[in-house]
């Protein structure tokens, strides 16, 4: 028997302790979601995408803020059955930080890190390197791409064992602030209109069908939060950082936070095209299972919210 059938139970919303999931952090702490859902929201914090997506597919989660990579993978894994992307959350916010390289050539034969084999940054890094005629599997000709945990990237970069790293915010900002790195590429510059999703809001199919009203309320709250963020970025950033601090016990330094979020733009637009492209890149590299992506985004709720 699948869990979460009872429509009366609170809506289970997944998110990560991550400043780029600002809507979730702020919305949960200042009660926006609670108000929108009549108090029937049940937040579940995760450490990483896979666990959240596993939970969503297992029916233990109704909706979640998550990176586009895991979202696409979960979508494809479930043959398009498991979930839908109902809204975007943030765009941009991934950079290639280097120690002293001034161009792609300077990275040849060096080691460059990405956060996770096959995740969006990893894919972006490899595509970028190839575009610049560099191999990605070591050798003097190519660059040795080394997936590493973000925390390890920071410490290794600080100790000069990495020539560069393609990381999401706030790690980019931290590499600059704490490890004396320099931003060589802002991933935004690689996308037309400089837009690509870093976080999206996904909803499980069952929730979408059985409790559309609640989901709609969720999306409405999300859109409102996004609007607030766009309206006053510094204030919202501060709120998000407080919430983040409450969860990890250690808020980010203001400078780092401001720098990090300066490259992140709030948007409720799911950014269909870039999202699809990301997914296809991942598929091309064999990190995502094959399958049709057309049904991944369901903009109908956004449309409803926009109409009213």
């Amino acid at each position: 028997s699948r869990r979460g059938e009872d429509p009366a139970r609170p809506l289970r919303l997944g998110y990560f302790p991550n400043v780029t999931h600002a809507q979730a952090l702020v919305g949960l702490d200042d009660g926006t979601f609670a108000r929108a859902l009549g108090g029937r929201v049940d937040p579940r914090m995760f450490n990483a995408g896979p666990a959240a997506m596993e939970a969503l597919l297992a029916g233990d989660l109704d909706a979640s803020y998550v990176g586009p990579g895991p979202a696409a993978i979960a979508f494809l894994r479930s043959r398009g059955e498991g979930l839908r992307v109902v809204a975007g959350a943030a765009s941009g916010g991934a950079v290639l930080v280097v120690r002293d390289a001034s161009g792609p050539r300077d990275l040849a034969g060096k080691r460059v890190a990405s956060p996770q084999l096959g995740n969006t940054q990893d894919v972006a890094l490899r595509t970028w390197l190839r575009a610049n005629g560099l191999g990605t599997d070591g050798g003097d000709a190519g660059v040795q791409v080394t997936p590493l945990a973000n925390a390890d990237i920071l410490s290794m970069f600080a100790r000069g064992e990495l020539a560069g790293a393609w990381v999401p915010e706030p790690w980019g900002a931290r590499l600059v602030a704490e490890a004396g790195g320099r931003i060589l590429v802002d991933e935004a510059s690689l996308w037309e209109e400089g837009k690509f999703p870093t976080a999206v809001l996904v909803v499980s199919r069952s929730a979408l069908e059985r409790r559309r009203a609640d989901v709609a309320a969720l999306v409405r709250a999300h859109v409102e939060l996004t609007r607030r963020w766009a309206a006053d970025r510094d204030r919202f950033a501060a709120l998000s950082n407080e919430a983040y601090g409450r969860r990890t016990g250690k808020p980010l330094p203001d400078a780092v936070l401001r720098d990090a979020l300066s490259r992140v733009t709030p948007t409720s637009d799911p950014l269909r095209a870039p999202l699809a492209k990301m997914a296809r890149d991942a598929q091309a590299l064999g990190y995502a299972p094959p399958g049709d992506l057309s049904a991944m985004v369901d903009g109908s709720l956004l449309a409803e919210v926009a109409r009213r």
Partner: protein, 209 residues
């Protein structure tokens, strides 16, 4: 630095889960080990896979845990039990197989059977080895718990550890490590050391130390 309140709170939650999971493992593992040692059929059936299963890292159990038990305490418990159960069973099996056959013959000739035999002869005779198993099972349980608490954020030291690592907060990581070690020292002192000394005295091994 880190508010000790949080460390203590997390430690308390983890200990609660550990206690449940560990006791469950012991309660199942010891009998399982005895059965494996005494029932050739069961042994033939389980023995081959037990060592392999025991070697599976907890991360293998996480997806199954979510699938079967959802985002619940049960799921974490499951991960902990899968982490330590078989270790205890293996050690118990070895201990029971190592019992001096004379003692088994004595029990036979004295007509000691079934429950009395297991509880009154097998377990006491195997106790030293079983204790080793319980000690190692205990650390298996800890490690599994640390992995299990990453299933979803439900407080506990595992979470604190992960977060500390994420934000590169060495102090927080150290804090958790110290907490784990401290708890280990404590348990060893109040539980295992005491039991061992008793056993060794009773068995007349004390002087051997």
């Amino acid at each position: 630095m880190l508010a000790d309140g949080r460390l203590l709170h997390a430690a308390a939650r983890s200990l609660g889960r550990l206690a449940q999971g560990y006791l469950l493992s012991a309660a199942i593992g010891v009998p399982l080990g005895v059965v494996m040692a005494r029932r050739p059929g069961v042994n033939a059936a389980l023995r081959p896979v037990v060592l392999g299963l025991q070697a599976l890292p907890s991360i293998c159990w996480l997806p199954l845990a979510i699938l079967w038990f959802g985002l619940s305490e049960i799921a974490i418990l499951f991960v902990v039990v899968m982490g330590s159960l078989l270790a205890i069973a293996i050690a118990t099996e070895d201990a029971v197989c190592g019992i001096d056959p004379v003692l088994l013959r004595v029990a036979g000739t004295l007509g000691i059977r079934r429950v009395r035999f297991v509880a009154g002869v097998l377990l006491p005779a195997a106790l030293p080895g079983v204790l080793t198993g319980l000690k190692l099972g205990w650390s298996f349980a800890w490690r599994a718990l640390m992995a299990g608490e990453l299933l979803f954020v439900a407080g506990g030291l595992g979470q604190l550890l992960q977060a500390g690592r994420e934000v590169l907060d060495a102090a927080q990581v150290m804090g958790v490590m110290v907490a784990i070690v401290a708890i280990g020292v404590l348990i060893d002192r109040v539980l295992f050391r005491v039991l061992e000394l008793r056993v060794r005295r009773r068995w007349g091994l004390a002087e051997a130390v």
